[in-house]
Amino acid sequence: MAKSTFESDLKRLEKIVEDLEQGNLDLDKSLEKFEEGIRLTRSCSKRLEEAETKIEILIQDKEGKIKSIPFMPEEKGSVETDE
């Protein structure tokens, strides 16, 4: 499977919920799915809670290499520029 992203985890979770609601699974399988679902719910919530906002701007360094540094948009009226 491809690397787990928030999107793929959420898709998987939705699939599990649907499977459980279908009700065709036996109890063991249901429990297995349920626990996977709970794990996914928890890890998705965790991702939402823990991931930080990161805002960066691309600049060229002296050798002409492009790199990214943290960026804060200027407040209105400010005319300061970096470098």
Binding site: F34, A51, I55
Partner: protein, 456 residues
């Protein structure tokens, strides 16, 4: 009469005699002096651009025509493409071309009549790209539901970048925004914007792109009407949201982009979901799972009950089994049903304990009391958790749900015996035979066991 004298003297009586070149030069002097920097109105005819890159055409009206030359250097500054039959205003100067005895206009500017040059250029490029299929609906891509990184191509100092960042981070704080700073108007702006789009594509360093700027005049927004930007958007593998100017401003970039936002702020709204909505849907997933599983367990419990009714006295173990499932089931209902009343809890625990007394021998009673005590403890703990849950419901729900899993019963010292290798839970010693391998799942880890003897 001396014929020669007349020629050499260059005068005829009082009158001056010109050579052809002299005359042509004099005419040139008069015309070029008189008709320097003029505007002429007419219709373009016979427009052609040979290899030199200079453009030649005839400007005409119903009765007359005049040759025009538009040199390569000047042609660059004319935004639109002059077309056959187009009514225009031409600015330039008359020159005389002596070798052919012709006069012509050296054109320095052309304006379409009635509309602005930029307007015409806009319509022409729109028409051209439309024909090429750059605006086709079929090629427009969906935006990713949960982008991890949003690439932004705009000015680092404008209001647009502030609005975009503000809206995105407010809606979805778990986000990474990468800004490629560009000029958004003036010389070279279009090239920088296109380079920004290409940069993100070459690095694959964004899941969605926002390309735009705040409002302005058609001249201010012009970079977003240039072909190089349109092509870059078209060629982008990353879906592009255009966000140019205000509601009413439409640019070529808007037509090519996968999605058009009416303002930079609304581009931010398009790019990411509202985290509140996402959390809500996570909650609903958890709720739905609990409900499904509860139903499942209830059905299962029904079955067990029916079987145990028949074998009550023969197999007390079945009762314990039944009881455990029931308790787990109750716990699930407790958490699910926030509205379940304490009195109901008491009723259930009472009837449960009275049942235990009537059914079980003393050691079973002790064991069941322990289980019951555990149940009460959890019940009590859970109700207080429910009150706290209002504040941070999603986190706690997930945590609590885990504790509800019937497998958590293992934490209380029970174990599950599975047939090996099929891993079906064993309910009776008759489910297996001597010499079989079985797996015993404990709270921590598993045991691989061999069956030595079967007992009823």
């Amino acid at each position: 009469m001396n014929y020669n004298n007349q020629l050499e003297g260059s005068t005829l009586g009082e009158e001056q005699i010109y050579s052809v070149t002299e005359l042509t030069q004099s005419i040139g002097f008069v015309l070029e002096g008189e008709f320097n920097s003029i505007w002429v109105s007419g219709e373009i005819s016979n427009f052609r651009v040979p290899g030199s890159g200079h453009a030649y055409f005839i400007l005409k009206d119903t009765k007359s025509q005049i040759r025009c030359i538009l040199f390569r250097g000047e042609k660059r500054f004319i935004a639109f493409e002059p077309e056959e039959g187009m009514e225009v205003l031409v600015h330039g100067s008359i020159t005389v071309y002596g070798q052919r005895g012709e006069y012509q206009i050296i054109v320095s500017a052309i304006e379409p009549k009635g509309k602005g040059a930029l307007q015409v250029a806009f319509e022409q490029l729109k028409e051209k790209l439309l024909k090429e299929g750059l605006f086709n609906k079929e090629r427009k891509r969906e935006l990713p539901e949960f982008p991890e990184r949003v690439g932004v191509v705009t000015s680092p100092t404008g209001a647009a970048v502030r609005d975009i960042i503000k809206v995105i981070t407010r809606r979805y704080p778990a986000i990474n925004i990468l800004l490629y700073p560009v000029k958004v108007q003036g010389d070279g702006a279009a090239k920088e914007i296109a380079e920004g789009i290409n940069y993100f594509n070459s690095k694959e360093s964004a899941d969605v792109l926002i390309v735009g700027r705040g409002g302005g005049s058609i001249e201010d927004l012009w970079a977003f009407n240039e072909e190089i930007v349109a092509r870059a958007i078209f060629n982008s593998k990353i879906p592009v949201i255009s966000a140019v100017g205000h509601e009413i401003d439409f640019t070529i970039a808007d037509f090519v982009a996968d999605h058009r936002a009416s303002t930079p702020s609304s581009a931010g709204e398009m790019a990411v979901k509202d985290v509140k909505e996402v959390k809500k849907s996570l909650r609903s997933c958890a709720d739905r799972m609990v409900i499904s599983l509860t139903n499942k367990i209830q059905n299962f419990q029904e079955n067990i009950k029916q079987i145990s009714m028949k074998r009550v006295l023969k197999s007390p173990l079945t009762h314990i089994h039944d009881l455990e499932i029931k308790i787990d089931d109750y716990q699930i209902r407790v958490v699910k049903g926030v509205d379940l009343k304490i009195r109901e809890y008491k009723l259930k625990t009472n009837s449960l304990s009275s049942r235990l007394y009537t059914l079980s021998p003393s050691n079973r009673i002790n064991q069941s009391k322990r289980v019951l005590g555990e149940f009460k403890r959890r019940l009590f703990g859970t109700t207080s958790v429910i009150i706290r849950a209002r504040e941070n419901r999603i986190k706690e729900l997930a945590g609590r749900l885990n504790s509800l899993s019937p497998l958590s019963v293992l934490g209380r010292g029970y174990s599950i015996c599975f047939s090996s290798p099929k891993r079906r839970p064993l309910y009776s010693s008759s489910d297996t035979s001597v010499g079989d391998m079985v797996d015993v799942k404990l709270y921590k880890g598993e045991l691989c066991c061999k069956v030595l003897q079967l007992k009823d």
